[in-house]
C-alpha cells in the first residue's frame, strides 16, 4: 500500500496543481526536491551574475539587498498600494461586467445573435492595445491603468461565463421547471449560475492572475505603481531594484492566486 502511494505521488503531481492539492498534507519528499531546485537555480544565477556587471545581471544577493531596502523604507508597499489602486477596481468591475454579459448572452439566444459580431471583433484585441484610448480618455493615472485591467478581466470572465452557461444542463433545467420554477430569474439563479460556477470561477481565477500582467504593462507606459518602478529603475541601470519589484509582482500574484483557489475549493466542494 505504502509503495503504491509513493509511486502515485511521483507521477500524479507533475506540473498540475488542482485546487484539491491545496488540502493535501505536506509531502516532505516533494518539499525536499523543491528546495533543491530552488537552490540549484540560485547557484546558477549567482555564478552567471558573478561573470557580469550588475547593470546586466544583478546577483541574488544584490537583489535581496534591494528588496530589503524597499521593504524597510516602506517604498515597496507604497508602490504595491498604487498598483492595487488600478488592479482592484479594474478586476472587480471587469469580472462583474464580463460575467454578467457572458451569462446574459449565453442564456438569451437573441441577445447572443445581436452581439456576437461585435464580440467577435472586439474580443481578440489585446487589452494593452487600448492603452491609446486609456491615455486620451483618462490620462495615464489610476483610471487609465484600471481601464486596461478592466478590459482584460472583462473578456476573460465573459468568455468563461458564456461557455459555462451555454453548456448548462438541459435536464437540470427541466427538473427545475418540474419542481415549480416558472420564472427565468429563478431559473438563472437556482440552476444556470450554479451550473456554470466552475467555469465562472476559472474565469475569475484567470482574470486575477492575468490582470497582474496587465497592470504592470499599463504601468510600464507611465502609470504609477510597481511596473513604473521596474522601468524607471532599469532606466537608471538599478537592475537589482527592477528585479526586486519583479519579485514583488510574483509575490502578489501567488498570494491572490492562492486566495482564489481557496475560494474555488470552498465553492466547489460538491465536485467529486
Amino acid at each position: 500500500m505504502a509503495n503504491d502511494f509513493s509511486l502515485r505521488s511521483g507521477t500524479e503531481h507533475g506540473h498540475r496543481t488542482s485546487t484539491r492539492d491545496l488540502s493535501r498534507k505536506w509531502d516532505y519528499a516533494r518539499l525536499r526536491r523543491g528546495v533543491f531546485g530552488t537552490a540549484a537555480f540560485l547557484v546558477v544565477w549567482w555564478v552567471a551574475a558573478s561573470t557580469q556587471p550588475t547593470y546586466l545581471l544583478p546577483s541574488p544577493l544584490e537583489v535581496g539587498g534591494a528588496l530589503w531596502g524597499e521593504l524597510a523604507s516602506g517604498a515597496l508597499f507604497v508602490h504595491l498600494g498604487q498598483s492595487l489602486l488600478h488592479y482592484l477596481p479594474g478586476v472587480a468591475l471587469g469580472v462583474t461586467a464580463g460575467g454578467a454579459l457572458g451569462i446574459a448572452m449565453g442564456w438569451w439566444g437573441r441577445l447572443d445573435d445581436v452581439l456576437t459580431p461585435v464580440v467577435r471583433v472586439l474580443r481578440p484585441i489585446p487589452p494593452l492595445a487600448w492603452i491609446v484610448f486609456a491615455i486620451i480618455w483618462f490620462g495615464l493615472g489610476h483610471t487609465g491603468a484600471a481601464f486596461i485591467v478592466f478590459i482584460g478581466a472583462f473578456w476573460i470572465t465573459f468568455y468563461n461565463a458564456y461557455s459555462g452557461v451555454e453548456n448548462s444542463s438541459r435536464e437540470l433545467l427541466e427538473v427545475a421547471t418540474n419542481l415549480g420554477i416558472d420564472s427565468e430569474y429563478r431559473l438563472i439563479r437556482r440552476v444556470v449560475i450554479p451550473d456554470a460556477t466552475p467555469e465562472l470561477l476559472t474565469g475569475i481565477r484567470t482574470s486575477v492572475g492575468q490582470c497582474w500582467m496587465m497592470v504592470v504593462a499599463a504601468e510600464l507606459f507611465g502609470a504609477p505603481g510597481v511596473g513604473y518602478e521596474i522601468i524607471t529603475s532599469a532606466n537608471n541601470l538599478a537592475m537589482e531594484r527592477s528585479v526586486a519589484y519583479m519579485l514583488a509582482i510574483s509575490a502578489v500574484f501567488l498570494a491572490s492566486d492562492w486566495g482564489v483557489r481557496r475560494l474555488e475549493a470552498r465553492l466547489l466542494r460538491w465536485q467529486p
Partner: protein
C-alpha cells in the same frame, strides 16, 4: 398555509399520440405510434415493454417535457404544455442537482413553492426517513451510490406531494431489499394520499405487485399491445397462484413482443 402543497389526483388521457425524434443522421426515430389510453384519478398504471419501446418518452410526454408530434396529452382535460410540480417525475437517470446536498435537493421544489421553512424542514426530514437516507442528508450527489441517488430523486419528487407521480424505473438501481421496502412505502403513500401514478418498470413482478393496470408496449415504434387490469386484492402476495398467473401472462406478452 397548508402543511403541504398537495394537489388532487388527476385523470390522464393520451389520445392518438405519435412521437417522432429527429436524429443526427437525419433519418429520425418514431418512438411512439398511435398511442391512446386513459387513466382514472388515483389509478396506479404501470408501463412495461422492451428497452427502447418508448416508455421514457411516454412518461416525458405526460410530464410535459416533450410535446407529441401529433395527438394530444390531457391531464384533467387540459392539454399538457410544460412541466409542472403537480406532475412530479422521478427520472431514470436521477438528474440530481450536483451542487446541492441531499437535503437541499429534496427541498428544491418546496423552496420554489414558498413553503415555510419549518414545514419544509420537517417534510424533507420525513422524506429522507422514508427513503432511508437521513444519515446522508448533508452529502453531495457525487458522494452517493447509484441506488442512493435514485432514492434522493424519489424523495425530491414525493416532497412536493404531486397529484400525478411519473416514475421512470424508480427502483432500477436499488438493491432488492431496499426495493421491496420502497415498493411497500410507495403503496402506502399512494393509499393514504390519493395519487395517480404512471410507473415504468422492467420488472414484471413489480408491475403486478403495484398496479391497478399494466400497459404493455411493443417495440419500436412503441404501440400499446395490451392493457391488463390486475384484479387482485391488496396487499398482494407474490406467492399467490393468481399473482403468479398474472406474472406469467405478462411475461408472455412482453416476450412475444417485437
Amino acid at each position: 398555509m397548508t402543511d403541504t402543497v398537495s394537489s388532487p389526483a388527476p385523470t390522464v388521457a393520451v389520445e392518438g399520440v405519435h412521437k417522432r425524434y429527429e436524429t443526427t443522421d437525419g433519418a429520425g426515430t418514431t418512438a411512439l405510434a398511435d398511442v391512446s389510453f386513459t387513466i382514472d384519478p388515483g389509478e396506479f398504471v404501470t408501463v412495461v415493454g422492451p428497452s427502447g419501446c418508448g416508455k421514457t418518452t411516454l412518461a416525458r410526454l405526460v410530464g410535459g417535457f416533450e410535446s407529441p408530434t401529433s395527438g394530444r396529452v390531457l391531464v384533467d382535460e387540459t392539454p399538457v404544455t410544460s412541466p409542472a410540480p403537480d406532475r412530479a417525475m422521478v427520472f431514470q437517470a436521477y438528474h440530481l442537482f450536483p451542487w446541492l446536498s441531499v437535503q437541499e435537493n429534496v427541498a428544491f421544489g418546496l423552496v420554489e413553492q414558498g413553503v415555510a421553512e419549518d414545514v419544509r424542514n420537517e417534510r424533507v426530514e420525513a422524506m429522507l426517513e422514508l427513503v432511508g437516507l437521513s444519515d446522508r442528508a448533508s452529502a453531495y450527489p457525487a458522494e452517493l451510490s447509484g441506488g442512493m441517488k435514485q432514492r434522493v430523486g424519489l424523495a425530491r419528487a414525493l416532497a412536493v406531494d404531486p397529484g400525478l407521480l411519473l416514475m421512470d424505473e424508480p427502483f432500477g438501481s436499488v438493491d432488492s431489499q431496499t426495493r421491496r421496502r420502497l415498493q411497500r412505502e410507495l403503496l402506502d403513500i399512494w393509499r393514504t394520499v390519493e395519487k395517480t401514478v404512471v410507473f415504468v418498470t422492467h420488472d414484471i413482478q413489480e408491475a403486478v405487485l403495484m398496479s391497478d393496470r399494466v400497459l404493455v408496449l411493443t417495440g419500436t415504434p412503441g404501440r400499446v399491445r395490451d392493457d391488463v387490469t390486475v384484479e387482485l386484492p391488496r396487499p398482494r402476495d407474490r406467492t399467490d397462484d393468481a399473482f403468479i398467473g398474472y406474472v406469467d401472462t405478462l411475461f408472455d406478452l412482453v416476450e412475444t413482443t417485437i
